[in-house]
Symmetry: C2
Subunit: 216 residues, 2 copies
DNA sequence: TCGGGTATGATCGTCTACGGTATTCCATCT
DNA sequence: AGATGGAATACCGTAGACGATCATACCCGA
């Protein structure tokens, strides 16, 4: 009963996604299918399947007969992503905290630890750990659509975090917030989880907005 | 500047989606790729792309090396879908009502009319009109992710509505609710839109729950 | 010099054909 | 009965070809 059976297009989906997140495939840039396929050592069918799914996720956009492009980032999208996260995630994490099994809690603990120890490596890795931590807080709710949605929003948000939040300072604050949030989650204090997560998301949004206003 | 340029896989995506919604492809049933492709008169490349996207949407599920299956319906999923809709849609429609242009309002008006006149045709058509009406209430917010998400949830919900809400009685009530909701929307009464839409969604959920408890 | 039309090249979207491989199912054997 | 083995089925991925379409550079005429 192992789930290690995965299709090629499944794995390519993740590989390309991470490449987009890490900025390896840049903003408004076109995806050259033949080039990318040979670079990945695969044929175009699994690649195109992965690209189609990434478009569905909102990371790519397809212009018929012109190909896939990395979805451009914009201030409006930041606002939209975070508005959606605020509508979904605090509630979902609060509920999950109340029904998490011991296994779930152990998984979340590990995710928290991984985020902790990764805190001083490069930003892209931290971002991945951060994503996994946030998902681990929601997953125990056994609501697949919700979890998937949270993951998707997290992924979309990650692009902006990686691109704009290099500055330190955020690290320390986020760490403190994560700690408090996770404590409340372990104590199954739904109200507190909801409140803290809401504040945490708002805090990140505020940082992002500040960064987005200044440069360029 | 017409946007009628669409790829084959794009159109197939919609065709197959509607077939799933209308129950033409049944619940836990496998999708025979070759058969479906020849039936649609296309090759497997665009079909597989469409299927990959439909999996991302939550209508299909892929078992590696065994193929795609129509995602089974379940009571838990109903609850989840409607919980998400309640978290997103009322707010989104309320906001959209406040920023809708005259064009947007005309579009919404047409969608309302179409739903109205279709009210006595078969349920599947009504469901499509219903979806389009709900989207038209949200679209003017110009928040692409939100709109796409609302559409997705609407699509997922539609399966259950089509499968379980054949009984009349719902028609009349839904019509009244739509009327009141649409009036508030046209008046840009955000609070009222939010309240009425929330009640409307809850009402549908209640009907669905009643139907799901009884049979089988 | 500049604008518009055209040729050209690159890339996409789709098709066809083929082979490997995983799964399923059934018959056979112990 | 249960295990083994093999055939059938369908999926997964590769390879190559081709027309359609878009972008660019070029050319020509005013």
């Amino acid at each position: 009963m192992s789930i290690v059976v995965r299709t090629l297009s499944d794995r390519v989906f993740e590989v390309v996604r991470e490449q987009i997140l890490k900025g390896r495939l840049r903003n408004g840039e076109p995806i050259r299918q033949d080039a990318l396929a040979t670079e990945l050592g695969i044929s175009k069918i699994p690649l195109r399947e992965a690209l189609a799914r990434l478009e569905q996720e909102g990371l790519l956009i397809n212009h018929p007969n012109r190909g896939y492009y990395v979805q451009a980032m914009s201030r409006e999208q930041v606002d939209e992503i975070y508005a959606l996260r605020l509508s979904i995630e605090p509630q979902a994490a609060a509920y999950a905290s109340s029904v998490a099994t011991d296994d779930d809690r152990a998984v979340a603990m590990r995710a928290f630890g991984a985020l902790d120890t990764a805190a001083h490596s490069n930003l892209a890795d931290v971002a991945v750990r951060n994503r996994e931590f946030h998902i681990a807080l929601v997953e125990p709710g056994r609501r697949p659509l919700t979890t998937q949605l949270v993951e998707r929003l997290e992924v979309l948000a990650e692009r902006y975090v990686i691109a704009h939040l290099e500055p330190a300072g955020r690290d320390a604050r986020a760490h403190i917030e994560h700690q408090a949030l996770f404590n409340a989650w372990l104590e199954r204090d739904k109200r507190k989880v909801e409140k803290l997560l809401k504040e945490h998301i708002q805090g990140t949004l505020k940082d992002l907005r500040a960064q987005l206003k200044a440069p360029d």
